[in-house]
């Protein structure tokens, strides 16, 4: 009998699912008392190299309001060739192709080890992928040269059959024709006016295939032909390489004290429109490369006078951000059009100042597109991150997937409240949908979402509501089930369907609270609650969100802690819960909830990453990993605390966005003295190298590429470590604690100890 941690790990490995609770309270009332809702993280395309794709279509329940996929939880009558849907209990006839099944000859989808299974849909043509590059030319020559080279390089990384197009912009916007004729032609647009799809279609001379043409003949319509603006890589790679090589910096002069006139909003609009007209409803990426903010036209985020800076959080708070609302609306409309068509918008923003990620974030967040923030196109951070977009998995297929939709089915006793992640609602009502959805704004009240761009790491958070009445008996079978059905376009062009079906036991919270408590997944719960908090922070006041978060934490402690009333020192949390308060402590002071010290663009970027990464990466973002290397033993995890900063050790900190190696004072002195060069101090050389090797492993594959910091005691870059560790020792309490080592942090932030003391006091208080 597996322990809960083993059970949780096995399920995650096989299904890519982690629930907050692995035994579910059987009534709505009890579920709300659990504080953390029943919810799951789902990684729909979790890497499963061992999973063979099934070459036939899934069998569906015949009930029109159900349509669940045949799965291992279904009861089967092999003699009568019938199966009972485990969600709606409908009895279904097997299709004729299943005539040969028996209990010794079961189809894969009925076997328990195929709780996650992937089908390849055979019908229909293989659609080519479409990549539309939208390139800013208002940047320094060195930057533009580096960007050009990266784009030329990418032509070697794209699949040969993919279609590629180029739009460049500065003050004006140019849509390039990709002929083979030797003369380069382009259509030029002013950047000041917005164009709708129809106008664009006319001006570019594009005709949509008419209904008459498409419907002719019984065979499936041909794959969309390429057009003058989007051509197969294998055909125009040489021409496009030359075209990219010839790109010049935007010729419009920029006078002293002014910003370049950059019509980014219009350029993106034209890109969205072009794909809307020519390739609706097929996987496509609009990759925008920007060197600065939009300064004119629709979607502008700042004026062209340098003396008027781009909005800060302070400006936003004081309602002094004059372009923000209108700008955001522009990009929200674009995001909506793109996601309706299954198109992805990526943003590669490389500049030292803000570029307007705050206003543009919906483009990436709603379409599942990437958002990359770097200092310049000449940095290795940009170059390697961009290369990694084209990474292939072990089978040689691109990791990126397109045009995804996720549909969720649930047993009657549980309904879907909403989802948080890089998706948009498809407004699909039905029996699985809860009415209690207000907090999810657009992403509630549906059982289907669109995820236009996704990869092996993309993770959604889905929140459920238990709807069984209090004192109603435990449902028949004792288990509740959830089925996740993800349809998507594989990078080969194939249409695939991945189905994950999973179930958990119900328990009566009145009599089995210990069982339910033991099933708590503190890591998953921390992320699920964190996503809720960050989601709220986008629309509510910061302090309100923190108060909400604190209140939930206190309630959780009250419900599941062991203590004597009014005796804070008696408070204990079992191992199942012991990491949770620390996660909450770090979440509260994280850049996801604290906007102080970050620009609006930075906050948007960090939140963008947080709302889509898988559990392990998300936890790293909230509570960075800290490992210590010393002569005293193998590398070990240490408390993320100032007391872990000691002179004779090296620390490796991973915050997801940075990898930092910190050399303690003594180690740093040895390094400066050069001991590592001497043969008799080879062990010291190994000690210095060990964290570097571990850092490299992370740097080799993480997307996006993190920054890399090598620092030491007293180094200016050490501040990145000092700001993350719990400040158990500050200038305020240095002498009170009586500690002689550990580095005091100069801060007025509350420490974990103080936080825990307050928490325990509030949890045990009978006045609460």
């Amino acid at each position: 009998m597996a322990t809960f941690p083993e059970f949780i790990a096995q399920n995650e490995e096989r299904d890519g699912v982690r629930f907050s609770w692995n035994v579910w309270p059987s009534s709505r009332l009890e579920a709300t008392r659990m504080v953390v809702p029943v919810a799951s993280l789902i990684t729909p395309l979790k890497e499963r190299p061992d999973l063979p794709p099934i070459q036939y279509e899934p069998v569906l329940c015949s009930r029109v309001t159900c349509r669940a996929v045949l799965n291992p939880l279904c009861q089967v009558d092999y003699r009568a060739k019938l199966w009972a849907c485990n969600f709606c209990y409908q009895r279904n006839q097997f299709p004729p192709t299943y005539a040969g099944i028996s209990d010794v000859n079961q189809p894969a989808e009925l076997l328990p080890q195929f709780s996650t299974i992937e089908y390849v849909v055979q019908r229909g043509p293989l659609m080519p992928l479409v990549f539309l590059y939208v390139v800013d030319t208002c940047m320094e020559d060195e930057d533009l040269q580096a960007l050009k080279e990266s784009l030329q390089m990418s032509l070697s990384l794209l699949p040969p059959t993919a279609l590629v197009g180029l739009i460049t912009f500065g003050r004006m916007i140019q849509v390039h024709e990709l002929g083979c004729e030797g003369i380069s032609k382009s259509y030029v647009f002013r950047g000041t006016k917005d164009l709708n799809a129809k106008q664009l279609q006319e001006m570019l001379g594009l005709t949509k295939p008419t209904a008459a043409q498409a419907g002719r003949g019984p065979q499936a319509p041909q794959a969309p032909l390429s057009n003058r603006f989007l051509q197969p890589v294998q055909k125009i790679d040489m021409n496009l390489t030359d075209l990219l090589g010839e790109l010049q910096r935007d010729p419009w002069p920029v006078t002293q004290g002014k910003r370049p006139l950059r019509s980014l909003g219009s350029a993106m609009s034209i890109a969205v429109g072009l794909l809307e007209c020519t390739f609706p409803n097929t996987g496509a990426r609009i990759m925008t490369f920007i060197g600065g903010p939009a300064t004119q036209g629709p979607g502008m985020v700042v004026g062209d006078e340098l003396k008027a800076p781009i909005r800060s959080w302070h400006d936003i708070e004081k309602d002094n951000a004059k372009f923000m609302k209108k700008g955001t609306k522009h990009y929200e409309a674009l995001a909506s059009r793109a996601s309706t068509n299954g198109h992805i918008i990526d943003i590669y923003a490389c500049a030292l100042d803000q570029t307007g990620l705050l206003e543009m974030k919906c483009c990436s967040n709603h379409t599942g597109g990437y958002m990359v923030m770097a200092d310049s196109f000449t940095t290795s951070l940009f170059k390697q991150t961009f290369q990694r977009v084209f990474t292939k998995d072990v089978s040689g297929a691109f990791k990126m997937a397109f045009a995804g939709t996720l549909e969720i089915k649930t047993s009657r006793e549980i309904k879907i409240s909403g989802a948080i992640g890089p998706c948009v609602s498809l407004n699909a009502k039905g029996p699985c949908v809860s009415e209690n959805v207000r907090q999810f704004h657009g992403n509630g009240g549906t059982s289907q979402w669109k995820i236009c761009g996704l990869d092996h790491n993309t993770t959604l958070a889905v929140y459920f509501e238990v709807v069984n009445q209090h004192n109603a008996p435990i449902p028949q079978g004792g288990r509740g089930a959830v089925q996740y059905v993800t349809q998507y376009q594989h990078s080969s062009g194939q249409k695939r369907i991945r189905v994950t079906t999973t179930a958990r036991n119900w328990a009566d919270a009145g009599t089995q609270i210990q069982t339910i408590a033991a099933s708590f997944d503190q890591e998953a719960s921390a992320i699920l609650m964190a996503r809720l908090a960050v989601y709220r922070a986008e629309t509510e006041e910061g302090p309100d969100v923190l108060r909400w978060l604190d209140r939930q934490l206190i309630r959780l402690c009250q419900k599941f802690g062991d203590y004597h009333k009014d005796d804070p020192n008696s408070f204990r949390f079992s191992e199942t819960f012991s990491l949770y308060p620390q996660f909450m402590f770090h979440l509260r002071r994280s850049p996801f909830l604290q906007v102080f010290n970050n620009s609006p663009d930075e906050s948007s970027y960090y939140r963008h990453q947080f709302m889509r990464q898988d559990l392990t990466q998300s936890l790293i973002m909230i509570q960075p990993i800290l490992y210590a290397y010393s002569f005293n033993g193998p590398p070990e995890p240490v408390l993320l605390d100032s007391s872990s900063i000691l002179p004779d050790r090296i620390l490796l900190m991973d915050t997801f966005f940075q990898i930092l190696i910190y050399h303690g004072e003594t180690v740093s002195q040895w390094r400066k003295a050069g001991y590592q060069e001497l043969p008799e101090y080879e062990n010291f050389r190994h000690l210095l190298q060990a964290p570097v090797d571990d850092a490299q492993e992370i740097l080799h594959s993480r997307f996006p590429m993190p920054r890399y910091i090598d620092t030491e005691h007293g180094g200016s870059q050490a501040r990145f470590l000092l700001s993350k560790v719990n400040p158990s020792q500050t200038h305020n309490n240095m002498y009170a604690w009586g500690q002689e080592s550990g580095a005091p942090i100069l801060t007025d932030d509350v420490s974990l100890q103080v936080f825990m003391d307050h928490l325990k006091k509030l949890a045990v208080s009978s006045a609460a």
């Binding site: 080279e149 290795s380 949390f573 392990t616 002179p647």
Partner: protein
């Protein structure tokens, strides 16, 4: 190669295409994902600095620090003979090279042995191009030829680094042996790792590989094609 410290703060190091591709399939040696719970909740005593074993070296002034534990002398405290790198065997496909990442070797002594001959490389490329001229559009072939010429000129005027020259030699050997995927992979690695040297002409090589692999195999051995091969000196084999 170190990151760009002038234009980006804390820019990470640049890894070669080969290393990054190898990293995809390789399992992690020791995933760094463990955390330590704070002692206040589990009831165990609060860690006191004295609990952490520290070396006997007292706080000496920075100008004269005491030395780290020496591997050969008897250390003052139990100290492993070899320093503690991570436990376990390296499981990566290729062991990570010492940091910073450098291209494989370039010592002066090996240079003369491993210096490929530009004419051999160009001959092989032209062999493939000649074969293509039968069926591939003239414009395309001319475009490829233009780029091959640029490649040749850059080589002859010393503008291509040794790693690029060597890998191009490897590429044409694969072409000759009809190992299309291997040749393609080398072209990709070259354009990722050396885009500033190869960016202008590599797409021609890419195209050449793509067109040549689709040819009727007989075309690869017509008389004129073989003639162009015969005129080359015996190519370097590895």
């Amino acid at each position: 190669v170190n990151g760009n410290q002038e234009r980006g703060w804390n820019d990470p190091p640049q890894f070669s295409y080969g290393l990054q591709t190898a990293a995809q399939g390789a399992p992690k040696r020791t995933p760094l994902n463990k955390r330590v719970p704070p002692p206040q909740l589990t009831g165990s005593p609060c860690p006191v600095p004295g609990d952490f074993p520290s070396l006997t070296a007292p706080m000496t002034p920075p100008t004269n620090p005491l030395a780290p534990p020496c591997s050969m002398n008897t250390p003052p405290r139990p100290c492993p003979v070899a320093a503690p790198p991570l436990a376990g065997v390296m499981m990566m496909a290729t062991p990570p090279p010492p940091f910073p990442v450098v291209e494989h070797t370039d010592s002066a002594s090996s240079q003369s042995e491993n210096e490929p001959d530009v004419d051999d490389v160009v001959t092989l490329l032209n062999w493939a191009l000649t074969a293509c001229r039968h069926t591939v559009k003239k414009q395309v072939c001319n475009d490829v030829a233009k780029r091959l010429k640029l490649f040749e000129d850059m080589w002859k005027s010393g503008k291509l680094s040794l790693p690029v020259r060597r890998r191009m030699n490897g590429l044409v050997q694969e072409l000759k042996s009809c190992n299309w995927d291997a040749a393609d992979e080398i072209h990709r690695a070259l354009i990722v790792d050396h885009v500033n040297e190869v960016g202008q002409w590599m797409v021609g090589v890419k195209r050449l590989i793509a067109e040549t692999r689709n040819l009727n195999p007989d075309l690869l051995h017509t008389q004129e094609v073989d003639q162009s091969l015969d005129t080359s000196s015996t190519g370097n084999s590895d």
